[in-house]
Subunit: 219 residues, 2 copies
């Protein structure tokens, strides 16, 4: 496998479009929903970091001789659909989206990067290393839950919806981009045990984020 | 005059809020109006650079012992009003807003920075140095005008509206923030000739941008 194999170009393309879109959507959420200017700046900080990641990925695509626009195009519909289904209605939903959404996406990219070349894997690690900026959301959400524990049910449901929509869009993508899917789960039917372990890892990481937020599963 | 004099804090505050807001609005325009993903990324690049400037200004305010939120608060209404009056309806309007809007704002800040301390003046220069990212708009607008010269009248009017709204909001601000106004024009009535020269410089710079875009004044 080379850096410019179809699966790897797909990985860089989906990651680039996800980062570009996350940047623009987080900026929109910051502008519309932040209750204070400091909050707006904090979510803006997450958004601007996503833009920096996009630039790294775009430059790598270009250096591989791939048009970034062409590489991103196959993923526009699925990622836009995910954002349309997870448009936050208030500041707490925006915080959870930033933290949980950025986290789920990062877990998927890490899984895919395991099965690619060392140089692409290092690039993905570099891009994902700055994702801790979204950690400020944890403190804000926990403070809100302390002040009003009744928020917990609604916000836990909201977080689950983001995961459900991500899985649903991920399945659509896997069907139309088999080379990308192969990076995640190997060739078709090859390794069911590995698929099971991957979902176990994704679920575990999501559970850790929910616990960090104070959003434990309901009874 | 010191770095933490009221006029200087006002200057850093208005510049910080302007950069934060430009970042968020440009990101919104990129998401909503860009015709291609490469265009979206190019305007995103301008937006992300504005965020970088915001961070420099916020950090300087904090190092002066000033709460950035408090320093920005007096300017929220005027800057939000300017954006509400200059919401682009299509991609060409968005490009012109990026280029002309960023340019006008930069000219004002340079004028104000002349009359402050050397360290603040250097900071403002540093923040404004990266504004050339908006230059890509020139090429795009000129190509659009070549393809359809009838666009010229509407887009020239649009650019004039942005200047008019900027002057109108600037006057409102000068009335309520006399220390900031004093940075621009000296103490009240002190130096009418200097005020005249300043407006001549601002007009000249705006004229250069209009000419660069191919938007020459109508007959």
């Amino acid at each position: 496998m080379s850096d410019s194999s179809p699966g790897t170009v797909d990985l860089l393309g989906v990651l680039a479009y996800a980062e570009l879109t996350a940047f623009l959507r987080l900026a929109e959420d910051a502008a519309l929903l932040a209750p204070t200017l400091n909050d707006r700046a904090a979510l803006g900080d997450v958004a601007a970091a996503e833009y920096g990641h996009f630039r790294v990925l775009r430059d790598r695509l270009a250096s591989l001789g791939v048009d970034p626009e062409e590489a991103m195009a196959p993923f526009v519909e699925a990622i836009d659909a995910w954002h349309a289904q997870t448009r936050p209605k208030d500041w707490h939903e925006a915080l959870i989206k930033a933290y949980v959404g950025v986290g789920i996406a990062g877990d998927f990219y890490r899984e895919a990067a395991r099965n690619t070349t060392a140089s692409i894997s290092a690039l993905v690690d570099e891009v994902l290393a700055g994702e801790s900026r979204a950690e400020f959301a944890v403190e804000r959400v926990r403070a809100a839950l302390d002040a009003d524990p009744r928020l917990c049910g609604r916000l836990a449901l909201w977080a689950r919806r983001m995961v459900g929509e991500a899985l649903s869009q991920g399945q659509r993508l896997a069907a139309v981009r088999p080379q990308l899917a192969a990076l995640l789960v190997g060739e078709e039917g090859e390794n069911l045990a590995e698929i099971g372990r991957m979902f176990a890892r994704l679920t575990e990481e999501h559970g850790k984020r929910m616990a960090a937020l104070g959003l434990t599963p309901g009874p």
